[in-house]
Amino acid sequence: MSVRLFLIQVLVLLFIFSCGGSNKKTAEFVFPEADSIPVSEAEKLSDEAIDDIGRNISSPVEIANVLQRMSVPFSAGYLASSIDASRLSTSFEKAFKLGILGADLGYLNMYEKTGTSIDVLSSIKKLADGINVGQFFDFESIKRLSRNRANLDSLLLISQNSYNQIDKYLREKGRGQLSALMITGVWIEGQYLATQMLKLHPDTILRNRVGEQKIILNDLLMLLAPYCNVSPQFTSLCQDMQDIKEKYRDIRITFTVGDPVMEEKDGALVVKQTEESKVEMNDEQLAVIIVITNSVRNKLISNN
């Protein structure tokens, strides 16, 4: 699974999934506004629903993948290098910054910056140990794999899987607030990377990806809602996320309806959607989102 190769798949149509006509039409994509889901309601969400929301946060690896496809060069300047893991005292800080550094690790690994990733891994180890989830990281194996680029696929697999396991473990052990913090940290760092790159490298796909975060942000706020009053730190974080959400209020997402097309190629099923989502976001709206993301992210990581 080489990271360097980017191939375009050539598809051969064998059959169409549905014989129905495409009959495309435009419909409004309707989101529940965050303030329509009061905390009291969010607290009633089932564990299953909370679990689903948590999983609904895209991996930062996907953002890194988009950046690579744009041929955007790696920049160490965007990493959260100011985080000093040994100075953090609360579980809140450790869990949130574990998420931030997890996103950075994904970014580093995708760009094969395995030398730098060892430094980040040392901080991740301290933070993971600090909230008693260090057992899910096989740091020695990850470090060993990091020393040889040929092991990149294994490195990505282990790193990604470690975070998945931590998330699952925290939920199962009733420590959902730490899981929510970690997921929020992953999201804010991914959003920061995407918006900063957009400033220097305007690109439609990346721009749309930032606009689409309106959907994700709504879910993220639902995930955080049950904990927003448990401590001043949580209250402040919820307010920061709400501030970002507010900047997304007038961004619209619409979609056209269509039937997926399926085909067989080399024994695998290949499916292509014809239904399509579209983001309506002007330059001014994007600029505001870039500013608020930068402000919130820098505030949260500097609070050592």
Binding site: L7, Q9, L269
Partner: protein, 142 residues
């Protein structure tokens, strides 16, 4: 007393240490079989008993998919599994987007090019509601 503490510590620490190891060889094997040019995103371990025929597959998970990304869903079965793992992908409205079981034929790989960002429901089961153990891997195709 000291011995008791040592034994107690051992009993407490060993399970934690063991649970931290990436000890699912089926997951690793399946992830690595996703082929070149992919990046692992998530694994779903599916273990089900014999079920009765019903309108929907039994193991449901939620996963976000983003526009202009191609995802590979790889389905693997444990050697001892009676049933063969199958998958249906539906959008948040419940509309079927893909199925690994089409016209009597099963596929162990689905390459899904997403054009509509959103939350998708992944429904897993074993063919004909047989009992089984398997793993579903979601990877990003680059």
């Amino acid at each position: 007393m000291k011995k008791c503490l040592i034994i107690l510590s051992f009993l407490l620490i060993v399970p934690i240490w063991l649970s931290g190891q990436s000890s699912d060889p089926l997951m690793k094997k399946c992830a690595m079989s996703s082929g070149p040019n992919t990046t692992f995103l998530k694994d779903f371990r599916v273990q089900l008993g014999k079920g009765t025929t019903q309108p929907e597959l039994r193991f449901k998970q939620v996963f976000p998919l983003s526009k202009n990304m191609t995802y590979k869903f790889t389905l693997c079965n444990s050697e001892n599994s009676s049933g063969k793992l199958i998958l249906k992908i539906k959008d948040s409205d419940g509309s079927l987007q893909a199925s690994s079981y089409v016209s009597g034929k099963t596929f162990s790989e689905i390459n899904f090019t997403c054009k509509k960002t959103g939350t998708y429901n992944l429904y897993f089961d074993f063919l004909d509601f047989q009992p089984g153990l398997g793993v579903g891997i979601v990877s990003l195709v680059k």
